[in-house]
């Protein structure tokens, strides 16, 4: 009797997830042979490999496709989108292919990961590799934190259609080449697939379809956070029952053990297993009664054995650990995590949590932990640090926490920092007392900022969550939130802002009249819909809320280093910012030693006597102005578009209208420039490109600019200076690229 547990694409590539190790430890403790397959990291590792990207480059053939676009007189919206991608790939596709394995090596290398310039080079190369790979399956797009296709994950008919789309679903090929052979070698009797994110829905069911074609008798069960929301709805779709045998709702340990025992003993009776959905003998969908939440004090330490721990793109493992399940507060009316995902708050003892850390730290030679919990409970905030220190553990960790004004006094904050806490993320949500009261947050905004001040004083990085457009919230109230955050920006390292959306499982949905929600607009075609559009009777309209959200994010962009240009550390790669904090000890040290430092060692403000373009530059002349195309496409934001759930792809209807109505982009030459040392791309105007071309080491600066008419020579001189600032020209006879290496 063998069990295979699969984490399907797409999750983060910087750390393993907790679901499989928790289930594996539990089943192994009951004597079962369990194999863990993280096909998310497996597929990222394969897609981002030289061999695979060479295949993409060959299939996309960007040179040929770009030449066709360059031959046009003008570009419509769709052509501009293709132009943006193809111009990049035509210039750098080969470099990215050659460098991708090195980029992964850098992210996994202790020495090079913390070299910020090398880190940025590697991060950019990874992003470029993802764009090259995605181009092969366009419009599907794989990023460092997402996988989107034109198929809506809110519609079961579209999900089913995506499962056999060889053209746009990259996982068909991957699963056939890698996952299926691995499963065939294991030959399991039970396969559990954990689906946490909506982006995993299509890949997970794609895999189920292939497995069932290979071995129809194997019992496939699907569980995980997403299913808690949509399994009921998905179970109504008859086709789903040719792909899977059961859904596990809520916690997986109990149902999975009963399934494994039943299969092993040959007496499997699904009707006796709680928290399950399955299809009965006469084709009816059966939902078994809800089981009691587990006492998590009785659970073993998660077992990561068998996961490809060397494949994650970090130099040191960051292991997730759940000291609690559920939320001890459990009152916020907008939230469903405590009702749908994890009903019933439970915790392990402080001693158990410390022991878990000790065991995993020793076994996997890492000191980094992410406490994957809803919020750090007060007793743990007060007692965990001392227990960590008493045990002599040298760890760094981070977690979400509630703004418990009475708990986080200065002594507690200092002890948290001393025990290795590097980052705390709090649900601040609003600066309005009225809005917070309606949310049932149970916090005071002024006291919250005082708490944040104490956390910062202790040296812990602070992340705040903020919500815009809570029903009845006025524009003035939302602006108060922005003002409070900006006023205290020295205390806050990250802000995660989002527009309120109405979840059908939330308390506010049930009591929507009390919150002046006058109308709800379900989409009749979206049978898996969880969030609804609505019309508020007071406060901001939905459009106003999004307007304020965009103003909010614009201000954040200009005031927080986290949102500025080299933002890779924060946005894309879950564990990287935390590891940098741990490496440098505190936010201040990280800011002063790394982020504020001049990034490029080759930058110089002076133009040499005989400027010479560095060898690391690649350029490509384009028939259209790529900078203007970027600017026009970036104006297509969530205000302009009707956003689709889990997808920022342009809706077909919008695309057709944009193609029809938007002014077409006329021919206007530009040059795309790639600096192989930094992996940065720039678009320069023809005049700037002409100057760069004349920097061949034989001309003085005045000779370089003499092709320019006298009235604009001053501008040309400034441009030369800017080229030098970017490190693209060096003094005559000397090549900056070589000095850097």
């Amino acid at each position: 009797m063998k069990v295979a547990l699969v984490f399907p694409p797409q999750g983060h590539f910087t750390q393993p997830y907790l679901s499989l190790p928790s289930l594996a430890a539990f089943l192994r403790g009951h004597g079962f042979e369990v194999h863990q397959l993280d096909e998310s990291i497996g597929s990222y590792d394969h897609f981002l490999s030289r061999e695979r990207l060479e295949r993409s480059l060959e299939r996309v053939a960007p040179e040929i496709a770009l030449a066709a676009l360059d031959g046009r007189e003008e570009l419509d919206f769709s052509a501009m989108e293709r132009y943006q991608l193809l111009s990049e790939l035509a210039l750098i596709g080969r470099d990215v292919t050659l460098n991708i394995d090195e980029a992964k090596r850098v992210l996994r290398s202790r020495d090079e990961f913390y070299d910020y310039e090398r880190y940025l080079w590697a991060g950019r190369t990874i992003e470029q590799g993802l764009r090259l790979f995605s181009a092969e399956y366009a419009p599907s797009r794989l990023t460092a934190h997402g996988f989107v296709t034109r198929y809506s994950v809110e519609r079961s008919s579209e999900i089913i259609a995506a499962l056999s789309d060889e053209r746009e679903n990259p996982y068909l090929e991957y699963f056939r080449e890698f996952t299926l052979p691995r499963l065939q070698a294991i030959d399991p009797d039970l396969i559990g697939i954990s689906v946490t994110f909506p982006s995993q829905a299509i890949p997970a069911l794609t895999l189920c379809r292939l497995i069932k074609r290979w071995k129809p008798s194997v019992h496939i069960t699907l569980g995980g956070g997403l299913l808690a929301y949509v399994a009921d709805k998905l179970s109504k779709r008859p086709e789903i029952w040719s792909l899977i045998d059961s859904f596990v709702m809520l916690e997986g340990e109990g149902p999975l053990l009963r399934l494994a025992e039943g299969i092993r003993d040959g007496n499997l009776d699904l009707s006796t297993i709680g928290n399950l959905i399955y299809r009965g003998a006469s084709g009816e969908v059966v939902k078994t009664p809800r089981g009691e939440p587990l006492d998590i004090k009785l659970l073993p330490t998660p077992d990561f054995d068998g996961l490809p721990l060397d494949k994650y793109l970090t130099p040191e493992l960051v292991l997730p650990l759940a000291a609690t399940r559920g939320c001890y507060w459990g009152k916020c009316v907008f939230c469903t995590l405590y009702t749908v995902i994890g009903p019933g708050y439970r915790g392990r003892t402080i001693a158990q949590t410390v022991e878990d850390m000790q065991k995993l730290s020793a076994k996997h030679k890492t000191k980094h932990f992410y406490l994957a919990i809803e919020d750090l409970p007060p007793n743990m905030a007060k007692r965990l640090p001392e227990a960590i220190l008493d045990a002599g553990l040298d760890v760094s960790w981070w977690a979400d926490a509630r703004l418990e004004h009475d708990t986080f006094d200065q002594e507690v904050c200092d002890m948290l920092a001393k025990s290795g806490c590097k980052r705390l993320a709090f649900g601040y949500e609003s600066a309005s007392r009225r809005v917070l009261a309606r949310m049932c947050k149970g916090i005071d905004p002024d006291a919250s900022m005082e708490l944040v001040r104490r956390v910062r004083k202790a040296g812990i990085s602070v992340t705040l969550y903020a919500m815009i457009g809570f029903p009845t919230e006025t524009r003035e109230e939302a602006e108060m939130t922005l003002a409070a955050i900006l006023e205290n920006r020295d205390l806050i390292q990250e802000v995660s802002a989002r527009v309120f959306y109405l979840d059908e499982s939330s308390e506010i949905y049930r009591r929507r009249q009390e919150f002046d929600i006058v109308e709800v607009y379900p989409d009749p075609q979206s049978d898996l819909q969880v969030y609804y559009d609505f019309k508020p009777g007071s406060g901001m309209t939905r459009r106003e809320a999004r307007d304020v959200y965009l103003e909010f994010t614009k201000k954040l962009r200009s005031h927080f280093p986290v949102f500025q240009n080299t933002n890779m550390l924060y946005h894309e790669l879950k564990s990287h910012y935390f590891l940098y904090l741990a490496e440098h000890g505190s936010w201040e040290a990280l800011r002063d030693k790394v982020l504020s430092r001049e990034v490029s060692g080759t930058r110089r403000a002076a133009v040499g006597p005989r400027p010479l373009a560095v060898r690391a530059l690649r350029t490509r002349e384009l028939a259209f102005d790529r900078a203007r195309i970027d600017q026009r496409l970036s104006s297509i934001d969530s205000f302009t578009l009707r956003p689709r759930y889990q997808s920022d792809l342009v809706d077909d209807e919008d695309r057709a209208r944009f193609d029809r109505e938007l002014p077409r982009e006329p021919r206007e030459g530009s040059t795309l420039l790639y600096d192989a040392r930094t992996a940065e791309l720039h678009c320069i105007s023809p005049a700037a490109a002409a100057l760069l071309l004349r920097c061949d080491g034989t001309r003085t600066p005045e000779q370089v600019i003499e092709i320019v008419p006298q009235p604009v020579r001053a501008n040309a001189r400034d441009c030369l200076m800017e080229l030098a600032l970017h490190g693209w020209i060096s003094e005559g006879g000397w090549i900056a690229e070589e000095q850097r290496r």
Partner: protein
Amino acid sequence: MNPPKNDKPEPSNPPSADREPAAAPDAAPDAKKPGMKYVFKIAPADPKRNSIDFEDVADK
């Protein structure tokens, strides 16, 4: 499902409540103007859209 949390199955962008058709994005700048030939411009070539960046901080 608010607020955004780590490791939680949340959408990366909110659904819209706007029932009306989307507004058109910025119009194209005027066609080539006299003097454009000696414009010296250097801009980062960044294919990212603005729309989803912020919602993913510390989320997914």
